[in-house]
Symmetry: C2
Subunit: 331 residues, 2 copies
C-alpha cells in the first residue's frame, strides 16, 4: 500500500483551494497597512489549509460539485482559516513563541500588541465573511466553536504545570482548542450548501475525531527530537510546562522518583540541562509516546468510520487518506 | 438649568438595564471557572453600561416600549457590552495597564495570557448572543464594527510617538476604536426591533458623534490632573506616547523648542521628572485642552441634532442629556 498522504485531498480540492487563497488574500486588506503586512506574514506562509479544505470537502459532499460553483463555500472556508490564524497569533503571544513553521513569529517581528490586535481583526473579519454567506445557522456553529476554542485554551493554561491532571482534562482541552474547529469547518461546509442533517452530523464527527488525532500526534511529536523536520522545536511543551497525553501517562505509571522529576520540571519549571533527555527516557520506559500515537490512531479510525455519509467515493477516500496521514506522518 | 446628567437616561432605562445585567452575568458562565471569575471582575465592576443603554434606547425608539418585552434587544445589548469588555481586556494587555476604574486590571491579577483568552471568549460569546437574535443584518453591523475597532487600535499603535501626526489620523483612530461601536450599538438596537431606515441611520449618526465627543473628552482629561476623581491616572497617555488631540494642537502651534520637547518625551519616551507639568504648561499656553473640549462640544451638538428621528420625547431628551453630560462632566 502506498504511504497515506494529504495530497489525495489536496489534489482533489486544488482548484477550490486556489480560489479560497484568493479570497483570503483579498479579505486581509485594510486601510491600515500593518494589518495585511502582519496577517500575510502568517497566512501566506502557508500551513496546509487543512481547515478550509474540510469546509470545501463538506460543501462538495453536500452538492457533489466543486465549491467554485458557489461563493458561499469559499467565503466560509476563508472565514475558518481566519479564525484559525487569529488563534495562532494569540497563541504565539501567550506562549512567547519566536518561531512558527520555521519562520519568525509575528509577535517576534511586530510585537505582542500588533499580534493581539491583528488576531482580533482576523476574528472580526471572519464574522464579516460568514455574514456574507447569509446563513445564520453557520454563524451559530462557528461562533460556538470559537467560544469553545478559547475555553479549551483557558483550561490548558490552568492545567499548566500539573502533571497529575486527569486524562479527561487533557481530552477536554484538545477537543476545545483543536477538534471543535475541525468539526465545525467540515460540518458548516455541508450546512451552507444545504446538506442533509445526517451528512452534517457525520462530517462533524469526522472533523472532531480527526482533530483529536491531529492534536494528540502533534503533542506526542514534541518529545521526538528526531522529527525536528516537522518544523516544531522538540521540547517546547516540556519547557512551557504544558500537560499532554504522554506526560499524563508517564505520571500515572511513574514511581515516586519519576513523579518528583515531573513535579520539579514540568510542575515548577526548574529545568536543568539534560532534563529533556531524562523526560524522554521516562516516556520511553512507559511507552507513553507509542500509547499516545495508538490513541490517535483509534481516533483516526473513528473519523474514517464516520465517512459513510459522504456519497462521492473519491472524496470519501481522500478524507480517509487525510485521517490516515495525520497519524502516519510520524511513524 | 440643571446640570446635564447621564441619570436621565439611566432612570428611563433602569428596568431594561437590570435585565441586561442578568443576561450578562448568566452568559459569562463557562465550565472553565477562570472565565467567569476574570470576566466578572471586569464586567461586574461596572462602568456606566453606556453601550448597552444605547442599544436599549435604539430598541425603545423603534417600538415605543421597553426592551423587556423582547429578549432580542436584551441579548444584543449584552453582546455589545461583551465586545466592549473584550477590547478593554486586550487594551490593558497592550498598554500594560495595572489599574482600570480604580481597581487592579485583570492582566495585573491573572496575567496577560488569561486576559487575551478571556477577551477572545467574550468576543466569541458576543457573536453567539447575536446569533440568538436571529437577525443577520445586526450581525453584519456588529462584525464590521468589530473589524473597524481593531483597525482603529492598530492605527493608534502605529501613530504612537508621532506628535506631528495629522489631526485626521487621530479622528480616524477614535472613529474606529470608540465611535463606531457607539453608532452600531444604537443603530442595531433599532434594527433588531424593526425600526425604519431613517431611525436606524439617525441613531447611527447620534452614536457616532456621541462616541467622538466621548473619546475626545476622555483624551483631554488625561492632561487634567485636577480631575483624578474620574478614575483615570492623569499622564497615562503622555507616558505611553499616545497621540491625542491636545498634543497635535500643541505641536501644530508650538515653536522649535516646544516641538523638541514633544519629540523627546512623547516621541522618544525619554521622560524625566517634571515633564508632565511642562507638557500641561504648553497645552495651557495654546489652549489645547479647551480647544479639544470645544471640538467635543461640537460633536455633542451634532449628536443631539441627529435625534429628531426619535419619536418619544422623554427618550429624545434623555439621549440629548447624555450627550451634554459627556462634554459637561469636565467643566
Amino acid at each position: 500500500m502506498a504511504q497515506p498522504s494529504i495530497s489525495t485531498l489536496t489534489s482533489l480540492l486544488a482548484d477550490d483551494v486556489t480560489l479560497v487563497n484568493e479570497v483570503i488574500m483579498a479579505r486581509m486588506a485594510s486601510d491600515v497597512p500593518m494589518i495585511p503586512e502582519l496577517a500575510s506574514h502568517l497566512i501566506a506562509a502557508g500551513g496546509k489549509r487543512m481547515r478550509p479544505m474540510l469546509t470545501l470537502a463538506g460543501a462538495r459532499a453536500a452538492t457533489g460539485s466543486t465549491a467554485a460553483a458557489d461563493s458561499r463555500a469559499l467565503l466560509l472556508a476563508a472565514a475558518v482559516e481566519f479564525i484559525h490564524n487569529a488563534t495562532l497569533l494569540h497563541d504565539d503571544v501567550i506562549d512567547e513563541s519566536d518561531k512558527r513553521r520555521g519562520r519568525d513569529t509575528a509577535n517576534a517581528l511586530w510585537g505582542n500588541e500588533a499580534s493581539v490586535l491583528v488576531g482580533d481583526f482576523l476574528f472580526a473579519r471572519s464574522f464579516e465573511l460568514m455574514v456574507e454567506t447569509d446563513d445564520i445557522a453557520v454563524l451559530g456553529m462557528l461562533s460556538s466553536a470559537s467560544a469553545r476554542i478559547t475555553e479549551g485554551e483557558v483550561k490548558q493554561m490552568t492545567m499548566a504545570g500539573r502533571p497529575d491532571s486527569p486524562m479527561q482534562d487533557y481530552l477536554d482541552v484538545i477537543t476545545g482548542k483543536t477538534a471543535i474547529l475541525f468539526a465545525a469547518a467540515a460540518a458548516s461546509g455541508a450546512k451552507v450548501m444545504g446538506g442533509s442533517e445526517a451528512l452534517i452530523q457525520g462530517l462533524h464527527r469526522y472533523g472532531l475525531s480527526l482533530g483529536m488525532a491531529f492534536q494528540i500526534v502533534d503533542d506526542a511529536l514534541d518529545y521526538r527530537s528526531d522529527l525536528a523536520s516537522m518544523g516544531k522545536n522538540a521540547g517546547d511543551d516540556f519547557n512551557d510546562g504544558k500537560i499532554t497525553m504522554p506526560v499524563i501517562l508517564a505520571w500515572q505509571d511513574g514511581d515516586e522518583a519519576e513523579r518528583a522529576f515531573w513535579q520539579r520540571t514540568i510542575g515548577m519549571g526548574a529545568i536543568q540541562e539534560g532534563d529533556f533527555d531524562e523526560a524522554v527516557d521516562y516516556l520511553t520506559k512507559h511507552q507513553a509516546i507509542e500509547r499516545a500515537l495508538a490513541e490517535a490512531k483509534s481516533y483516526a479510525e473513528q473519523a474514517i468510520a464516520a465517512l459513510d455519509v459522504v456519497p462521492e467515493e473519491a472524496l470519501r477516500e481522500a478524507l480517509a487518506d487525510a485521517a490516515l496521514y495525520t497519524v502516519a506522518r510520524t511513524l
